[in-house]
């Protein structure tokens, strides 16, 4: 593994981005890594862009901001439109154009319809955990799937455990079916 290994979770406010990074970091901790998580976000609680940086190392703790680097990407292609686009002041690019641009820049791109899968679980809000399931199955990180399950079980012990585990497993299964672009 590259040390430190950096994972970036990015999306817009309200998608459960910070929760997803918390699950990933907790799973990494179970595996005995030094973990730092940095959260960046706009001032808006909903709709602003949100990015979390998760940094794992076997050697020592790193700062909470990741440097530039080449990556694997798992993407939910469901857009959440910024009001700039809705207002007609900006144009939202066609999704396939975005995907091919990403493909040009990275090792691999996997597309997962996480929002649609989450609806099957019961609510779009579970798309973050579906995505975490995909990350677990991807083996892009050295964190074992079982560590993710343990982390989810600990985090949701009081509320919503079954449904979150279900969303996670759907993500795991879905990733196994997907092929990189």
């Amino acid at each position: 593994m590259e040390d430190p290994l950096n994972i970036i979770v990015t999306g817009v406010g309200g998608q459960g981005n910070i929760q997803a990074s918390y699950i990933i970091a907790s799973a990494a901790l179970i595996e005995g890594f030094h973990v730092s998580v940095g959260e960046t976000y706009g001032a808006a609680q909903r709709g602003g862009s949100v990015t979390s940086h998760i940094r794992l190392s076997r050697e020592r703790q790193y700062g909470p901001l990741t440097q530039e680097g080449k990556v694997h990407v798992i993407v939910n292609p469901r857009p959440v439109y910024p009001i700039d686009v809705l207002a007609g002041e900006a144009i939202y690019p066609p999704i396939n154009k975005v995907l091919s641009a990403i493909k040009e820049l990275v090792f691999s791109v996997h597309v997962v319809e996480a929002t649609e899968l989450a609806k099957k679980v019961g609510d779009v809000i579970f798309q973050n955990v579906v995505m975490v399931g995909c990350l677990a199955a991807s083996e892009f990180t050295p964190i074992k799937t079982e560590a993710f399950r343990t982390a989810i079980t600990e985090l949701f012990a009081d509320k919503g455990l079954d449904i979150n585990l279900k969303a996670f497993e759907i993500g795991v299964e879905e990733f196994k079916r997907t092929k990189p672009l």
Binding site: A44, R46, G48, A87, E89, I102
Partner: protein, 586 residues
């Protein structure tokens, strides 16, 4: 006991004066609000440990300033600690309590956004459960005094700080890594430490560059700094916002220069411009790249994290494909309705009225999501405060209606004296309070109007309207989702003389949706929707700008994004074609 910003920042020091341990936490601007007291309690001292935690915001991610509160520690002359990691944040706070108690002096811990919003592993030490009794008898005196008494206390403060300095020289929070005789050293604190370690590693400079990490930054641990200045020829300072360490170390170096065992030294940092953000030195937050660039420039190294071609391709893709994502009110936010009503009423009024903004979610009233209705924004209470001034400028030619905005929490915390002043001096203002029954922006804390105290215990509400009417101000209450009523009331009240209050009351959808069951289903009847023809094209989307209203390009009609919509139904009221349908769940 914990105090937050100006909701009672003086409670914790009182507890500390009575012998308990107390901590008060606030962001940069909160430190300004409390600074008056800080500049006297440094002299009067404390019995129990008393810690002030300040959170600075380099890059102003969610604040209106990049103020560096470390200057307050130097200004008030109190001990200052700067954690680099979550573990240190815990350890230093504990140490600060002990030091504070030992010296009888308030101690300060300064963090920044990048640490406050980070997670890391924290190992706990033994937790001592000690229950103290608060005591303050008629024998106690707690004051900074006046005249010669004050000067005596001031001299005692200097003595306390000498003792703090001796401790800091030995502190384990300060550490040096790298070559013991390095001629090039980095002096850093806070987040800068981990960035410096990583930058030095990435550049392969570990053998050449020493890193002196200071966790105790005021008073400067002079003996320790001197020890490392002796072997250095060049010094790079890596720290967030101001050149605080840089100035203090340079001053020390100047004092020592005549002794001959230090220098000549070459300094790099903010003053030299090597450590700089996008808008220049002393602006923006630092990161690993900024440290790498500084080192590379100083040492004449060529560092390329990526091949140039790749970076250019990435930048081009971002430039052409990533649309702006301006901050906006949440779907279902009552502030969107309130600003809509204000904008409409000002249009009807036709006198080009001025709206002064304040601090909260509704600060976004300056942006398109609030129809750019608000025109000023500074600090808590500045909306009604400056409106007082604007409302008295008619004799000088500024004869316009003035609307001051604040939220409910901000009203209680920072606006009441200004409202009294407005009434007292008969300023011509309409003060609109956006009451969403919570402190939404900072995470839904209770306030005096919510019916629970800061710890969540049920208490009697202190209604905003009772306070305003008690001051003798005409006060009306309207739900901004009753748009017609809302616009009408703003319009009418703008025509009145003197000061009036209009409370726009509607609960924050983030707390409201948690309480209720299923949300109502909102959808667009696309047979009725007139799409591009509507209100100069796509009225609901283009003009109203709720992120729940989106466009269906295939049909050329509006639709609802059900992943975003909270079911408030306001767009259904606004839709000129009555094409948006709200179906309440049974």
């Amino acid at each position: 006991m914990v105090g937050k910003r100006n909701c009672g920042p003086l409670k914790p020091p009182a507890a500390a004066a009575a012998g308990l341990r107390a901590l008060t936490a606030m962001k940069n601007l909160g430190a300004n609000v409390c600074s008056d007291f800080l500049m006297t309690v440094n002299l009067s001292g404390t019995r129990g440990g008393f810690v002030l935690v300040t959170g600075d915001d380099p890059s102003a991610h969610s604040t209106t300033t990049e103020l560096d509160t470390r200057n307050y520690a130097r200004f008030a002359d109190i001990p200052l600690l700067e954690p680099s990691t979550a573990q240190e944040a815990k350890d230093m706070t504990k140490f600060a309590f002990e030091l504070s108690e030992e010296l009888g002096l308030i101690c300060m811990v300064r963090t920044v956004t990048r640490l406050s919003h980070a997670r890391g592993v924290v190992t706990l030490g033994p937790i001592f459960k000690e229950r103290r009794t608060a005591t303050f008898s008629s024998q106690n005196l707690w004051t900074s005094g006046s005249s010669s008494i004050t000067c005596m206390f001031h001299s005692i403060l200097h003595e306390k700080m000498k003792r703090a300095q001796a401790k800091f020289d030995e502190s384990e929070f300060n550490r040096y890594t790298g070559n013991e005789n390095a001629e090039f050293i980095i002096i850093t604190a806070g987040t800068g430490w981990l960035y410096s370690l990583e930058a030095v590693k990435l550049l392969g400079l570990e053998g050449d560059v020493g890193i002196l990490k200071l966790g105790t930054t005021w008073p400067l641990p002079e003996k320790l700094v001197l020890k490392h200045l002796k072997h250095a020829k060049e010094v790079l300072f890596v720290e967030e916002i101001d050149a605080f360490l840089e100035q203090n170390v340079k001053m020390l170096a100047a004092e020592l220069s005549a002794e001959g065992n230090v220098g000549p030294l070459k300094f790099y940092g903010k003053k030299s411009g090597h450590v700089r953000g996008e808008f220049g030195a002393g602006t923006g937050e630092i990161d690993v790249y900024i440290v790498i660039r500084a080192l590379a420039e100083i040492k004449g190294l060529n560092y390329q994290p990526r091949e140039r071609e790749y970076s250019e391709k990435a930048l081009a893709a971002v430039g052409s494909l990533v649309p702006a994502r301006t901050m906006g009110f949440c779907a279902g936010c009552p502030h969107r309705a309130s600003f809509w009503a204000i904008k409409k009423a000002l249009q009807w009024d036709g006198r080009d009225g001025i709206v002064t903004g304040d601090i909260g979610c509704y600060s976004l009233g300056l942006l398109p999501t609030g129809f750019s209705a608000a025109k000023t924004l500074h600090c808590m209470g500045a909306g009604i405060g400056t409106a007082n001034g604007f409302g008295k400028l008619a004799p000088f030619g500024l004869d316009k209606p003035i609307i001051a905005i604040s939220g409910d929490s901000t009203f209680y915390h920072a606006c009441i004296p200004a409202l009294i002043n407005a009434k007292w001096h008969n300023a011509n203002i309409l003060y609109i309070i956006l009451d969403n029954n919570t402190t939404a922006m900072t995470g839904h804390q209770p306030h005096p109007g919510t019916g629970s105290d800061a710890l969540g215990n049920p208490v009697l509400k202190i209604p905003i309207e009772d306070i305003c009417r008690g001051i003798g101000v005409e006060t009306r209450i309207v739900d901004p989702f009753d748009l017609r009523d809302a616009v009408q009331n703003v319009y009418e009240m703008l025509k009145m003389d003197g000061v009036e209050v209009l409370i726009f009351r509607h609960e924050c959808p983030l707390t409201e949706t948690k309480k209720r069951g299923k949300k109502p289903k909102v959808y667009v009847d696309q047979d009725k929707c007139i799409g591009e023809e509507c209100g100069c094209a796509r009225f609901c989307i283009r003009v109203f700008k709720c992120p729940g209203n989106i466009w269906d390009p295939a049909k050329g009609k509006a639709k609802i994004d059900d992943a975003v919509c909270v079911g408030c139904g306001l767009c259904a009221d606004l839709c000129p074609a009555k094409a948006i349908i709200v179906e309440e769940e049974a």
